[in-house]
């Protein structure tokens, strides 16, 4: 699936988008898998309460299932307007 990062999550991880092959069942599983991979992921995901996640461009939750999802995005709380 495609994993996208925005704002300081993008800066901390060092890239805006990547293709991830995973069997993670939920968003939290994916976060754990990425965090175990490299320090920069662990740093970005250290406090998930400070993060938001979107599945296929809809806001979702960290315990949501990834079944059938093609695009996951992680970012901080929005600050538009």
């Amino acid at each position: 699936m495609d994993v996208l990062y925005f704002a300081w999550v993008r800066e901390r991880i060092g890239l805006p988008k990547e293709r991830v092959e995973t069997n993670a069942a939920t968003v939290s599983d994916l976060v754990a898998e990425l965090s175990a991979r490299e320090d920069r992921y662990a740093a970005a995901f250290a406090d998930v309460s400070a993060l938001r996640v979107a599945l296929d461009q809809e806001l979702s939750d960290f315990d949501a299932s990834l079944t059938g999802v093609r695009e996951v995005a992680f970012f901080p709380p929005m600050t538009g307007g």
Partner: protein
């Protein structure tokens, strides 16, 4: 209903006139315009606005449709910019047209409250001292409980 996400500047006056020109059944037209404010220290050079192409349009459309369902509105307009802006630049605007002023005002406030916390935009303030992502405010999240 019109939702626009663009890098270019927009003309508030031209947009307001075009929006208000539509018909004579909506007696009340409300516009809200967000302007890049300088910092308290007065040294903001650039406000950079990042967004999530694709999701941004979906989120704004969903919020605008929700407003059309909740209030008796004739029309809704949402324009939001991204990219590099400087103090004084207009970031975004919403406009609502309704037969009654209460609907027009409430719907415009609803659009703003949701757009602030539910549309995927992130602001970064760049000064001579460096760059900082703007933190979301608890009061903006709290504002949603009103609706």
């Amino acid at each position: 209903m019109r939702v626009v996400v663009q890098e270019d500047a927009f003309d508030l006056g031209a947009e307001a006139n075009a929006f208000a020109a539509a018909d004579d059944t909506n007696g009340a037209i409300v516009t809200f315009t967000g302007v890049v404010r300088d910092l308290a220290t007065g040294n903001l050079d650039v406000m950079e606005i990042e967004h999530y192409p694709g999701m941004t349009e979906r989120a704004l459309t969903k919020i605008a449709e929700e407003a059309m369902v909740r209030w008796s509105l004739g029309d809704v307009l949402v324009i939001h910019r991204h990219g590099r802006l400087v103090p004084g630049d207009r970031i975004m605007m919403v406009a609502t047209a309704a037969p009654h002023r209460k609907d027009a005002f409430e719907a415009a406030e609803f659009l703003m409250d949701y757009l602030k916390s539910r549309a995927p935009f992130w602001k970064k303030e760049i000064t001579g001292a460096g760059a900082d992502w703007v933190a979301a405010k608890d009061e903006d999240e709290d504002a949603l409980t009103r609706w």
